[in-house]
């Protein structure tokens, strides 16, 4: 589903990713772990298509298609979803209006018909309950005044609503207490599907206690320096990044 080969990415002329390769098949959950500044967020942004992240070498194929050639909205319509580390607050747009606009924009790009307000509301309600997203939150301006946990729950609600093929979760655990983390992780686990691939990006091992990955890649200084099964997370937790990064260098 996702084939990243020898990816080099520069931000404002500075190379951040330096030859990253990664392959994910449908149904798999991969984790990317790495210390601060290793290029984790750069990877998530370049996959989602943010401006200012220049691919200088290498390629990203998504279902055989050159992902880099598509604007962010087309990637979304084709099933790429990025749950962001810092969801933005947009005063003046209610959460419900945003969800409806986004959902129908994606549908339209896929040649599907719009869902009416009632249809969207039903769909959102059905998914919101499990994530403890209240009606009141849906009426508020998007993310405005939401707690860290509420913001992350809303990200996962969107993931449930858009039903992406490739979901990238960027530091979804950051800023969450253990109860909020558990709720979010349950939401993610409920979306595990043989047709869906997930890339979980995190600094800490604790998220992977709840979302257990099939494979773990350790990112340092813009490259994958170690790979392994879920037990690698425990090793990292015990010995720290320095140990593994140092070995690789």
């Amino acid at each position: 589903m996702l084939e990243i080969k020898n990816l080099h990415v520069a931000v404002e002329g500075k190379e951040i990713l330096k030859g990253l390769s990664l392959s994910i098949q449908p149904g798999e959950v991969h984790a990317i772990m790495g210390p601060n500044g290793s290029g984790k967020s750069t990877l998530s942004y370049v996959l989602a298509g943010r401006d200012g992240y220049d691919i200088t070498e290498g390629s990203i194929l998504y279902n055989g298609e050159n992902l880099a050639a598509l604007p962010p909205e087309e990637r979304a319509a084709k099933g790429v979803f990025l749950a962001m580390q810092y969801p933005v607050e947009i005063p003046g747009v209610t959460t419900m209006t945003f969800l409806k606009t986004a959902l129908n924009s994606q549908r339209r790009q896929r040649g599907e018909s719009d869902l009416d307000a009632v249809g969207v509301l039903k769909l959102v309600r059905a998914k919101a309950k499990a994530l403890n997203v209240s009606e009141e939150m849906l009426k508020r301006a998007l993310n405005v005044g939401f707690s860290g946990g509420e913001k992350k729950r809303l990200e996962i609600l969107q993931m449930a609503l858009f039903e992406p093929k490739l979901a990238i979760l960027d530091e979804t655990d950051s800023g969450l207490d253990i109860d909020a983390l558990r709720l979010v992780a349950e939401g993610v686990n409920a979306l595990r599907d043989p047709a869906r691939a997930m890339l979980v990006i995190t600094h800490y091992q604790r998220l992977l206690d709840y979302i257990v990955p099939d494979r773990i890649h350790v990112l340092a200084k813009g490259r994958i320096v170690a790979e392994g099964g879920k037990e690698l997370a425990l090793e990292l937790e015990a010995k720290g990044y320095e140990h593994i990064v140092g070995q690789a260098a």
Binding site: P71, E73, M84, V88, I90, G92, T101, A102, S105
Partner: protein, 369 residues
């Protein structure tokens, strides 16, 4: 024969116009709106523009200022002396206009729709007597040049909601001066939507002159091409325990220019006055311009005055967030612009008028985003 706009007052006004001349950019208050150059050789002219009241609501009295023998309520308030040059010009150079009155205690349910059309100068007077209540919807027609001098007089505890929509046009030069007197317990809510023309300027002078008087102003401007919009306000807290708020949101694309000049004066002894002023602008083009000039003049103690102004661009992070959720760029930009303007629109109390302004904005946004 008694004329509504009496000749002495017209002569005084003509003297004011004569001594100042047509305002131009070297006059401080007109720095961002060069009327003289916009008018060119045609100058101020001396034609009378037209007014139109569609479906005068029951309970509202109307008098044509071009007619002789004005009733007492007109004579008492019309054509107050002014030092404002364009206000004076509208009096000196027009032969008439419209006067409207809502009697004491009357609550008018239907909105009063007042249109200004044609080129030239015209006067308007609106009197709300004690305890009266009205929604005024003012529509500004396109003309090569029009200058409206509008006097609004409120009685104690009167309530006026005023919605004014200024059209999008490349060539029109539209100027209006609104002066308001707000006595004890009276409240004015003014909302101004501007879509920009060659030169569009609305001046508001508001005097809060009684205990509990309040003025709440809000407005949006959405400009593209070479269009211009200027909102110039002066709110004077002459009496203590009065309240004024201002919230203006402007968007300029292309080579458009959005101007907000807002002055708040708190007179000596007007203790307990409370005022706030917020003006924000988004610039969408390399050559678009916003001039925001909030100003405070305080001569009293124990007042609460806040002001702020900010100019920026659409937030790149928000734009990316929306696009990453599948919303195409132009639609995402439109949504963010709408969001930026939203609180200024939400300030309109009447649902019908709020939706009217919202619809106009959405139409204009399609062309800009």
């Amino acid at each position: 024969m008694t004329l509504a706009l009496n000749l002495d007052r017209k002569a005084q006004a003509a003297a004011v116009v004569h001594s100042h001349g047509v305002p131009h950019r070297r006059v401080e208050e007109w720095k961002y709106s060069d009327l003289k150059s916009a008018l060119g050789e045609a100058g101020l002219g001396a034609v009378m523009a037209e007014w139109l009241v569609r479906d005068l609501p029951a309970g509202v009295e109307l008098f044509d200022l071009a007619q002789p023998h004005p009733p007492a309520w007109v004579s008492a308030h019309v054509a107050r002396p002014t030092q404002n040059v364009m206000n004076a010009a509208s009096l000196a150079l027009s032969a008439g206009g419209v006067a409207l009155r809502v009697p004491a205690g009357a609550t008018i349910g239907a909105p009063l729709k007042l249109d200004f059309t044609g080129a030239g100068h015209v006067r308007a007077l609106l009197v709300l007597e004690d305890g009266a209540s009205l929604t005024l919807v003012e529509s500004v027609g396109v003309a090569d040049f029009r200058n409206v001098g509008f006097e609004i007089v409120l009685g104690n505890n009167a309530r006026l909601e005023h919605v004014r929509i200024s059209p999008r046009d490349a060539d029109a030069v539209l100027v209006e001066e609104i002066s308001l007197h707000i006595p004890a317990g009276a409240r004015y809510r003014g909302h101004f939507a501007g879509f920009g023309s060659k030169l569009a300027r609305m001046e508001l002078e508001i005097v809060l002159e009684g205990e509990g008087a309040a003025a709440h102003l809000s407005g949006v401007a959405l400009l593209d091409g070479k269009r211009h919009s200027d909102v110039t306000t002066h709110v004077i807290h002459r009496h203590g325990n009065t309240n004024s708020t201002q919230l203006f949101k402007h968007v300029a694309a292309g080579q458009a220019r959005a101007v907000y000049q807002g002055k708040v004066t708190v007179a000596k002894g007007a203790d307990g006055s409370d005022s706030s002023q917020t003006a924000k602008a988004l610039l969408l083009g390399d050559q678009s311009e916003a001039d925001l000039k909030p100003e405070l003049e305080i001569f009293a103690d124990d007042v609460k005055c806040a002001h702020g102004a900010a100019v920026g661009d659409l937030d790149a992070e928000s734009l990316f967030y929306l696009r990453a959720r599948g919303i195409p760029e132009s639609q995402a930009r439109g949504l963010l612009l709408q969001a930026f303007l939203e609180d200024a629109i939400a300030a309109i109390e009447s649902t019908d008028q709020r939706e009217l302004v919202r619809t106009e904005l959405l139409t204009a946004l399609k062309g800009i985003a």
